[in-house]
Symmetry: C2
Subunit: 125 residues, 2 copies
């Protein structure tokens, strides 16, 4: 029995620390990263490590919550780059040895509120 | 002990069926809906019901997965409107009686893949 909550916490803490050895230690060799918004896939730990190491900008992250249900987990993380903050939502699947086997990543960007519903809404605080 | 997984399943099934009485039955009176991408908030069951009933388009949904961890849940749902499909990710909090008290909704839209990483990626299948 592995602790997926601890694995996801280590994943994000090591990314924030740029501790790529620890980051690699929680990834399966054949980890698969999927980004449905761009239809990009990254296959394998080497490519995925390079992708993260080379990700541009002075980014920092804070984990808002992690949910684990059986062999699935999800995190909600606030990313700050150059003063702008955006939330990311990431679903994780795990290999039998507890390492991360799949990463399904969503980056919801701000958009203009559609017209016709202002009578139902108020500003989010 | 309430079954949050069943509650979330009922929430989506009743929305798809436009069965607004059942949909209302799983919502707390003071349910709060937050949409961080537009900074909109909807407060209270009446407003939230109206928002959903009046949501434009011939939308249909299919639940991809539901995760429950303690008093939090998250769903990933494929929405189809007029032939276009988009995934929505929704976090749920619950009142003491098991009804849904908070809905935190993300609608990640497609965007162009940034340059400089094509050597690491392949098309997602």
């Amino acid at each position: 029995m592995t602790d997926h909550h601890a694995t996801v916490t280590t994943y994000w803490a090591s990314a924030e620390a740029r501790d790529w050895d620890t980051f690699a230690s929680v990834l399966a060799d054949d980890v698969r990263y999927d980004l449905p918004q761009t239809h990009e896939r990254i296959a394998g730990r080497d490519h995925y490590l390079t992708f993260n190491r080379e990700y541009p900008g002075d980014w920092h992250l804070a984990v808002a919550e992690v949910l684990v249900d059986g062999d699935r987990a999800v995190s909600r993380v606030a990313f700050t780059v150059d003063g702008a903050t955006q939330q990311a939502v990431t679903f994780f699947g795990f290999a039998a040895d507890g390492r991360i086997a799949t990463v399904l990543d969503f980056w919801p960007e701000p958009y203009e509120a559609p017209p016709g519903r202002a009578h139902l809404t108020e500003p989010m605080t």
